[in-house]
């Protein structure tokens, strides 16, 4: 095959030589446009959508609302798809949502061992580590070791519950609300919520 796969494809500045994969993607794009299968402007819209419009701030808003609005939290537990849609977050890779509430007894952590399923409408596109072989392979067999890679250590008596996204159901972790945030606004709370906390490889804490 006229290519080789490297783990780290180095980016090249404009005008300089493109890597083999960059050339191959470019060639395929011009071919598919020439054949009329894709609209080049549609490609720009797709990229812009996931680069600037849809990302983990959406999920953070869901979490903050769940922390401040008990009726919403209850709705999220019963029908996460509808509750999340009420905030305007719907669509591709979020058609069947389930919210997983962390408690002092249970810590939830989401993985897709078979590919890279991820709740796009609330978290955007997954980070590289989520799609990496170490995470996909180890999350189910040694979740606590994986958590250590993220600097997270949990008490032994807390159940780590891993969710392997094998179907079209997508999972959003609702982390525990940190102490000392009583009376905070939704906006202020949302700013605390990290992407990793909504995947389950992080906890939410107050800024040091």
């Amino acid at each position: 095959m006229p290519h080789d796969g490297h783990h780290h494809d180095h980016d090249h500045g404009e005008g300089s030589e493109l890597s083999p994969i960059a050339l191959r993607v470019k060639a395929l794009e011009s071919l598919l446009v020439e054949k009329g299968y894709v609209d080049p402007k549609a490609l720009d819209v797709l990229i812009d959508t996931y680069e600037t419009k849809i990302g983990p701030r959406n999920g953070a808003r869901v979490v903050a609302k769940a922390w401040t609005d008990p009726a919403f939290a209850d709705w999220l537990k019963r029908d996460a798809t509808a509750a999340i849609a009420s905030l305007g977050y719907t669509g591709r890779q979020g058609e069947h949502m389930v919210a997983l509430f962390n408690t002092p007894e249970t810590h939830n952590m989401v993985v897709c061992t078979l590919c890279s399923c991820y709740p796009w409408p609330v978290l955007g596109l997954p980070p590289v580590w989520y799609k990496s072989m170490p995470y996909r392979s180890r999350a189910v067999i040694e979740p606590r070791e994986v958590l250590k890679d993220f600097g997270v250590t949990l008490p032994d008596d807390r159940e780590v519950r891993v969710w392997d996204s094998t179907a079209e159901v997508r999972y959003l972790v609702i982390p525990e609300r940190p102490a000392g945030t009583g009376g905070w606004s939704e906006e202020k709370l949302a700013a605390l919520v990290t992407r990793n906390a909504m995947i389950g490889t992080g906890l939410v804490s107050l800024p040091a």
């Binding site: 783990h7 072989m133 392979s137 067999i141």
Partner: protein, 216 residues
């Protein structure tokens, strides 16, 4: 370790390609690699199990995309460092810069007798085997982080003892420098239908040590 070497049952590697009139080595470096590993194995102070364990610790993507003797090369480089025979820097630069640990290399005249000498991994132990031919056993559901010879596809499976080979050096112990810890070794027969869930009438035999097995 559940590493890339443990590929029993994996699909996607394509057809088995057999080469007509295949040579013993496919490139001169393979022959050198083979000889180096054998010669160093005589004097390096590691066991065959440690050697296997070293080859298995390669990064999995690298492991499955590299050839057999590349696995050996990676294993040897690791073992040389671990046993204080060469530093990483020396391996990269291909120059000795640290005084070598004194070893006595096997001389050329001694190779043939060494290669053809009868060897054995059987060790007498003061115990009776737990199982005999015809016994039903279940393999343990174990996932050690260290070297083991119980493949993943045979864990938690029911099989039948077909032979006992006496007590043999236990790889799980020997590979970690924890001694030979000999245990009874059995050949166990599994039905392919149990292992894979399809209707084939085939059977699979594996040589498994007593600590891998429990009565059922």
């Amino acid at each position: 370790m559940n590493g890339a070497h443990d590929c029993g049952g994996m699909m996607g590697f394509g057809p088995v390609r057999a080469e007509v009139n295949e040579p013993v080595f496919h490139a001169p470096w393979e022959a050198r690699m083979f000889a180096l590993m054998s010669a160093m194995g005589d004097v390096g102070g590691w066991t065959l199990d440690e050697d296997r364990a070293a080859c298995e610790t390669m990064e999995p993507g690298h492991y499955i995309t590299s050839s057999y003797y590349e696995h050996w090369l990676n294993g040897l480089e690791l073992l040389l460092q671990k046993h204080g025979l060469a530093t990483a820097e020396e391996i990269v630069s291909a120059r000795a810069s640290v005084p070598a640990r004194a070893v006595t290399p096997t001389v050329a005249e001694a190779i043939w007798p060494a290669v053809t000498a009868p060897g054995s991994y059987e060790r007498p132990i003061d115990a009776a085997p737990m199982f005999k031919a015809g016994d039903r056993v279940r393999t343990r559901q174990m996932n050690p982080v260290h070297h083991t010879r119980l493949p993943r596809y045979l864990r938690g499976q029911v099989g039948e003892i077909v032979a006992c080979h006496g007590a043999h050096v236990l790889p799980d112990s020997n590979s970690r420098g924890l001694g030979e810890d000999p245990r009874f070794l059995y050949t166990v027969r599994f039905k392919a239908s149990d292992v894979w869930g399809h209707a084939a009438r085939d059977v699979i035999h594996a040589d498994l040590w007593e600590p891998y097995l429990e009565a059922c």
